[in-house]
């Protein structure tokens, strides 16, 4: 067990922090959102230039071979600066699916493009009725000679509006909620018979709803084994959940800093409001929640490499639940402690709060994570409780 960062990891963290501090202001973010921009091309180029888009990929494809902790550091910093760039969408989700599931020749084509920032891909998996259930895939892919024809709908495809390609999950066999039978396809966004509708989420991220009206793709567009995509999806979603946990910690960290600054500078009754014990204790509650959330984010990211699949799954579900609850508590508290100012669109604090709420909804809210956790946790046998009953006479 070791919680300290290596020299390389410290340098990585420093370089992301410095880059975003300089190039990603809150004003820039807000003007992008106002202009309905999904991302900033310049910032993305900058991230690519620093090698950050390749951190999680193997060296043979031009990456750095980093693990969960490296991604955690990047995501924390992204959270600090409330970055809406397609890092999770393109690098963690689409890149992860390709890296862990695709054939070598596919990786040769795609990964270098992701790493140098030239290729943006989104993962189109969720559907209108799927809620948080990963297995619930209704989109179908029917064989047509060597080709496949895709029919169905995908919803809330994160950063879809800027993607040049989508990775689409579709059923090649089985029933709606079967583990087996889901296959991944790469679909070009300029494909005929592909309809899209773009819209913003409440936190400023932009998303796409996709209509697949008989989209025809060739056999080379299949990623991984036919019908066996679910374990791959689940594994990559674990990585995304750990990344979101780390991002949330970054968001909470800055939320807490801004709130402390506000308490120290805002005066009422002739004194800074930080003098009031009731507010001090609420600020302490935020701190306690944040520190525990940090522990859970480390647990989630550190568990990704674990070979004990049940332990790994439990760690990630637990972290995502805890961080969902923590994010809500810290966010609500921050607004309350900012008083009326916290309600304004002008101040950053409300946007941090909204990002925390949005993160909770990524791949399942807290309630959902706990439900899944309980399924795994109750498989543990209860401890044996030996207590001989004493004999006694009826009186």
């Amino acid at each position: 067990m070791n919680f300290s960062l290596s020299e390389e990891q410290k340098m990585l963290k420093d370089s992301v922090d410095r880059f975003l501090e300089k190039n990603y202001s809150f004003d820039l973010r807000q003007s992008m959102i106002e202009e309905r921009q999904t991302m900033s091309g310049e910032v993305w180029e900058g991230l690519a230039g620093l090698g950050l888009l390749g951190v999680s990929f193997p060296e043979e494809y031009g990456g750095f071979g980093g693990g969960g902790i490296e991604t955690m550091l990047i995501m924390e910093s992204m959270g600090n600066h409330l970055v809406i760039e397609p890092y999770v969408s393109t690098v963690i989700l689409a890149g992860g699916l390709v890296n862990k599931g695709a054939a070598d020749w596919q990786k040769q084509i795609i990964l270098p493009g992701i790493i140098d920032g030239s290729m943006l891909i989104s993962f189109a998996h969720m559907e209108p009725g799927s809620r948080f259930n990963l297995e619930r895939v209704q989109t179908v892919a029917k064989p047509d000679g060597n080709n496949w024809v895709l029919e169905g709908q995908k919803s809330i495809v994160l950063h879809g509006p800027v993607a040049e390609k989508l990775i689409v999950s579709a059923r090649t066999s089985g029933e709606v909620e079967d583990q087996d039978g889901v296959t991944l396809f790469i679909v070009e966004c300029d494909e005929e018979n592909l309809g899209g509708h773009e819209y913003p989420l409440y936190d400023g991220t932009r998303a796409l709803d996709v209509q697949l009206n008989g989209v025809r793709v060739g056999p080379e567009s299949v990623i991984g084994q036919l019908g066996k995509a679910m374990p791959l999806i689940s594994e990559v979603v674990d990585h995304a959940m750990a990344a979101f946990c780390a991002e949330a910690v970054g968001v909470m960290e800055r939320t807490q800093q801004m709130t402390l600054e506000y308490l120290k500078t805002r005066k009422q009754f002739g004194v800074p409001i930080s003098r009031f014990q009731v507010l001090q204790h609420r600020a302490v509650d935020m701190f306690i929640t944040l520190e525990q959330a940090r522990s859970m984010a480390v647990l989630a990211s550190g568990s990704l490499a674990s070979t004990d699949l049940s332990e790994k799954k439990k760690a990630i579900l637990a972290a995502k639940d805890f961080i969902g609850r923590a994010g809500r508590a810290v966010g609500q508290e921050a607004i309350q402690l900012h008083g009326g100012m916290g309600m304004t669109q002008e101040l950053a604090i409300g946007h941090y709060f909204k990002r925390l709420e949005a993160i909770d909804l990524m791949f399942g809210n807290s309630q959902h994570q706990r439900r899944e956790f309980a399924k795994l946790s109750n498989q543990e046998g209860p401890v044996e409780y030996v207590q001989p009953r004493k004999k006694w006479k009826q009186i």
């Binding site: 067990m1 070791n2 919680f3 300290s4 960062l5 290596s6 390389e8 990891q9 990585l12 750095f64 980093g66 693990g67 902790i69 490296e70 402390l260 308490l263 120290k264 003098r275 014990q277 001090q280 204790h281 600020a283 302490v284 509650d285 701190f287 306690i288 520190e291 525990q292 959330a293 940090r294 522990s295 859970m296 480390v298 647990l299 550190g302 568990s303 490499a305 674990s306 760690a315 637990a318 639940d321 805890f322 309630q367 706990r370 439900r371 956790f373 309980a374 946790s377 109750n378 543990e380 209860p382 401890v383 409780y385 030996v386 207590q387 009953r389 004493k390 004999k391 006694w392 009186i395």
Partner: protein, 403 residues
């Protein structure tokens, strides 16, 4: 990029874990473990037997240096020992000697004090208690009024201490007394080591709301003579010594191992209780409360490990350790609450005598239900002792957040 940060167990830690498991299986007295798991009252000698076994192995004091008889474990080893031994039903050793005054004497004590007191803490020959709180000095501890006046080579101590846990079992008390009246109220305080068998020391029990056995006491001190060699550190430095001690106490009060055991016990009870013909543990409402608590406990456990890792690098635990006391006690309380709720109306009968070893009279409801309400009431203490949770928040607010 190298994997420096690593949360998995190292192979030597796994080896240690299996060593501890083996040791506990062979040395923890079965009847004692049963009492702990079943929430029956423990006698002093129950704890003593476990301590003797640990003493032979050199495992009594996890964080003392080996040259003083400690185990000098890494943070991870301490955690492993806590979790493994607690799960098996090991009783908690009295913390006053091992976790509290021990580290203080190692840091501030004279050679005489180290030689005189440390070995008997380890062997369990001498038990300790803590003379801090007074009737008029609770959270405002520095306002304490018990006096120690120097006469020749003796302090004459007069006053009253209260809430003194295990005073009825203790041989020595580390005690904060006022030796000077000038300056700030924190300045005139000194720490004395007082022989509890000395004339003028009187222990009176305080019965707590759970109605259980004697746990806390008043300690009356009337013209008690304390030799000057029993002054810890310098005169007037008692406050900073006490603060050093409290930060150690807070790291130890998280109680993760015991809480994991109680969580398992809660699941066990919830599996045996039925609601509309279905085990309570399968009731979505109750199960969600258990799950939330289990995850909260994980968050505490990993925070303990993070703090412990900093400590292992040689740093004194900072005010962050207050988090562990706060969350640790909240979780302990929630566990007693859920265990009690799990048995429904069977929590009501009050039959503490039926928990005694030789009880042959009637019992009501399942045996596991009998102690649960008493434990629930008793555990309201944990957010009050060791500095109330509100005081912990004041500490974090001032010293960590700078408010």
């Amino acid at each position: 990029m190298g994997e420096y940060m690593e949360i998995r167990l190292k192979s030597e830690d796994k080896k240690f874990e299996s060593d501890v498991k083996k040791f506990v299986a062979e040395n923890l007295p079965k009847d004692v473990a049963r009492k702990v798991i079943e929430h029956r009252p423990l006698e002093k000698q129950d704890v003593g037997r476990w301590q003797s076994a640990l003493h032979k192995q050199g495992w009594v004091a996890p964080n003392w240096p080996t040259e003083l008889g400690g185990a000098q474990w890494s943070a991870m080893q301490q955690h492993i020992f806590d979790v493994v031994s607690s799960a098996a039903g090991a009783p908690r050793l009295s913390p006053f000697g091992i976790n509290m005054i021990g580290p203080v004497l190692i840091e501030f004590g004279s050679d005489f004090q180290k030689e005189r007191f440390l070995p008997k803490i380890l062997s369990g020959e001498e038990w300790w208690c803590q003379g801090y709180s007074e009737p008029g000095s609770g959270s405002d501890l520095a306002s304490l009024r018990t006096t120690g006046e120097l006469h020749g080579d003796k302090y004459i101590v007069n006053g009253q201490k209260t809430w003194t846990t295990q005073a009825q079992w203790a041989d020595v008390m580390f005690c904060l007394v006022r030796t000077g009246q000038s300056g700030k109220k924190q300045d005139g305080i000194s720490m004395l080591l007082i022989d509890m068998h000395h004339p003028g020391v009187e222990v009176r029990p305080i019965i707590t709301i759970d109605g259980g056995g004697q746990e806390i006491n008043e300690v009356w001190l009337q013209d008690v003579e304390v030799p000057v060699e029993n002054l810890v550190g310098e005169e007037g430095r008692g406050w900073s010594i006490a603060k050093f001690l409290l930060s150690h106490e807070r790291t130890n009060t998280a109680g993760v191992g015991a809480s994991k055991r109680e969580l398992a016990h809660l699941k066990h009870i919830a599996a045996k209780e039925f609601l509309d013909g279905v085990p309570l543990i399968e009731d979505p409402l109750f199960r969600d409360r258990i799950t939330k608590l289990e995850i909260d406990l994980m968050a505490l456990e990993w925070t303990v490990l993070r703090v412990a890792a900093v400590e292992a690098q040689g740093a004194v635990p900072g005010p962050e350790a207050s988090i562990l006391k706060l969350r640790g006690t909240e979780i302990q309380q929630e566990l007693t609450e859920l265990q009690m709720e799990a048995v429904g109306p069977n929590a009501l009968p009050y039959l503490p005598m039926s928990l005694e070893e030789n009880w042959i009279g009637p019992t009501v409801g399942p045996n596991y239900a009998t102690p649960l309400a008493s434990r629930y009431f008793n555990y309201r203490k944990v957010s009050i002792y060791g500095g109330t949770n509100e005081i912990q928040k004041n500490i974090i607010s001032k010293r960590v957040l700078g408010l």
